[in-house]
C-alpha cells in the first residue's frame, strides 16, 4: 500500500500505542519509543515490520509510541494507520478465519 499522507492511529492510554505514519523518502524508517523497549523492543519492532510487510509498505516514516500494548494491539494500530495514510480500506479477503 502506498503511504500518501500523514495519519495517526491509537492513543497514549495504558495498554495501547500511538502509531504515526508519513510518506517516506524511498526507504522504511521505524522509530520506537516504549516503556518496555529494553525487554521487548526487538519483539515489538518485529511485529511492526511484519505488519508493514504484510501490507506491502516499503516507503514510509513510522513512529510508534508504545504504552505496554499487546502484540495484537500494535498490529491493529499499524494496520489502521496504514489504511488511513493510504486512503484504502483494509482488505479482509486476505485474512484467514480463526479456527480455534
Amino acid at each position: 500500500m502506498e503511504i500518501k499522507k500523514a495519519a495517526v492511529a491509537g492513543t497514549m492510554e495504558s495498554s495501547d500505542c500511538m502509531v504515526t505514519i508519513r510518506p517516506g523518502d524511498g526507504t522504511l524508517d521505524i522509530q520506537l519509543d516504549s516503556d518496555v523497549k529494553v525487554m521487548f523492543g526487538t519483539s515489538i519492532l518485529e511485529t511492526i515490520q511484519d505488519t508493514l510487510a504484510s501490507l506491502g509498505v516499503t516507503n514510509a516514516d513510522v513512529e510508534v509510541r508504545d504504552r505496554g500494548a499487546l502484540d495484537c494491539v500494535i498490529r491493529a494500530r499499524v494496520e489502521c494507520a496504514v489504511c488511513r495514510a493510504s486512503g484504502e480500506a483494509f482488505d479482509w479477503t486476505k485474512e484467514a478465519a480463526y479456527h480455534g
Partner: protein
C-alpha cells in the same frame, strides 16, 4: 445449520472496541458473555480502528470459558459490511445485532454471514445471533424476529433507545418498559430462545440492582446485560439455580423416568401432577446448573 448447545448468558458485559485496556480487563471478570462492541461505545471516527482491534484481539488473545460476542453496527449503517467481514473471520460464538425491528433484517444478515463463512471455510450456521430489541417496532415484531432464523439464540431488551422511541421517561422503577420486557420474553419463549433483560443503570445502587434482577428472574428472563463489572456477581447469583431448585428439578425428572418405566400415562410428585412444562423447566434448570459448573449428578436428594 450447526447443532446448538446450552450456553449460560446470565450476565453480558460490553467492552468497548476502541479501548484495549477495557478489552483486556474484561477477560478477568466473571461475566458469562463478553460483548466486544463496535457500535455505541465507539466514536464514528474510530470505527475502522475498533474493528481491527477487536479482530486482532479475538484472533490472538481469545478468552476461554466465556460466550464471545461481537456487537456490530446497525443494520442500515455503512459500517456493517466491514464489521461483518471482520466479525465472521474472528469466528465468535455470536454476533449481536443492534436495533432489530423486522425478521427480514435478521434473515438478510444471516445470509450474508453464511456467504462469508463459506468463503473463509467456516462451518455455515455456527455463528449465532442475538438481536437487540430497542424500539416499539422491535417489541411489536419480537416474535417474528425471535423465529426469523435458526441462528437466533436470544433477544435482548435495551431500555434507553426503547423509551426514546416510546416517548416515555426512563425511570429507575422501569414501569415504562414493563410491558416491553414481558412482550419480548413471551416472544422468546414462543421461539425457544433465551431472553436477556435490560441493564440497571445506577452502578452505585446495589439494592436497586438486586430488586430489578429478582424481578427479571421471576418474570422468566435468562440473564441481564450489565453496565459495570461490579454488577456481575450480583446478577450471576440470581440467575444461577439454587440448591432447592436443582433438587426439585432432579426429583421431577426422577419421577418422570420412574413413571415411564412403569408405563404410567400420568406422573405425580408430592400429590401434584407433573406436566410437560414442568419437565421442560426441570431440564432447563439442570442445564443451567451444569453450565454454571455445578455437578448435579452427585447431588443427594
Amino acid at each position: 445449520m450447526a447443532e446448538k448447545t446450552i450456553r449460560l448468558k446470565r450476565t453480558g458485559l460490553y467492552a468497548s472496541g476502541s479501548t484495549p485496556v477495557n478489552m483486556i480487563q474484561a477477560i478477568f471478570y466473571n461475566e458469562d458473555m463478553l460483548v466486544y462492541d463496535l457500535e455505541d461505545s465507539v466514536p464514528a471516527s474510530e470505527k475502522d480502528a475498533a474493528r481491527l482491534l477487536v479482530y486482532r484481539m479475538l484472533k490472538e488473545h481469545r478468552p476461554e470459558g466465556k460466550y464471545i460476542c461481537i456487537r456490530v453496527n446497525g443494520i442500515y449503517s455503512e459500517e456493517l459490511e466491514q464489521d461483518l467481514q471482520a466479525a465472521v473471520r474472528a469466528n465468535p460464538d455470536c454476533i449481536r445485532i443492534p436495533k432489530v425491528e423486522y425478521a427480514r433484517e435478521v434473515q438478510a444478515i444471516s445470509r450474508h454471514i453464511a456467504e462469508i463463512e463459506e468463503a473463509v471455510g467456516l462451518e455455515v450456521g455456527k455463528i449465532e445471533l442475538i438481536c437487540n430489541i430497542e424500539s416499539y417496532m422491535g417489541v411489536l415484531n419480537a416474535q417474528e424476529i425471535a423465529m426469523a432464523d435458526p441462528r437466533v439464540v436470544a433477544l435482548s431488551v435495551a431500555a434507553e433507545d426503547l423509551t426514546a422511541s416510546l416517548k416515555a421517561q426512563r425511570t429507575k422503577a422501569g414501569l415504562e418498559v414493563f410491558y416491553a420486557r414481558n412482550a419480548v420474553l413471551l416472544a422468546c419463549r414462543a421461539a425457544g430462545v433465551d431472553a436477556l433483560d435490560i441493564v440497571f443503570s445506577d452502578i452505585n445502587d446495589e439494592e436497586g440492582l438486586r430488586a430489578d434482577t429478582a424481578l427479571a428472574k421471576n418474570l422468566g428472563f435468562d440473564g441481564k446485560t450489565v453496565v459495570h463489572p461490579r454488577q456481575i456477581d450480583v446478577v450471576n447469583s440470581y440467575f444461577t439455580p439454587s440448591m432447592k431448585e436443582i433438587k426439585y428439578a432432579l426429583r421431577v425428572l426422577k419421577a418422570v423416568e420412574e413413571g415411564k418405566q412403569a408405563g404410567k400415562g400420568a406422573v405425580t410428585l408430592d400429590g401434584g401432577m407433573i406436566d410437560k412444562p414442568m419437565e421442560l423447566r426441570a431440564r432447563t434448570t439442570l442445564a443451567q446448573a451444569e453450565a454454571a459448573g455445578i455437578n448435579v449428578e452427585r447431588m443427594v436428594l
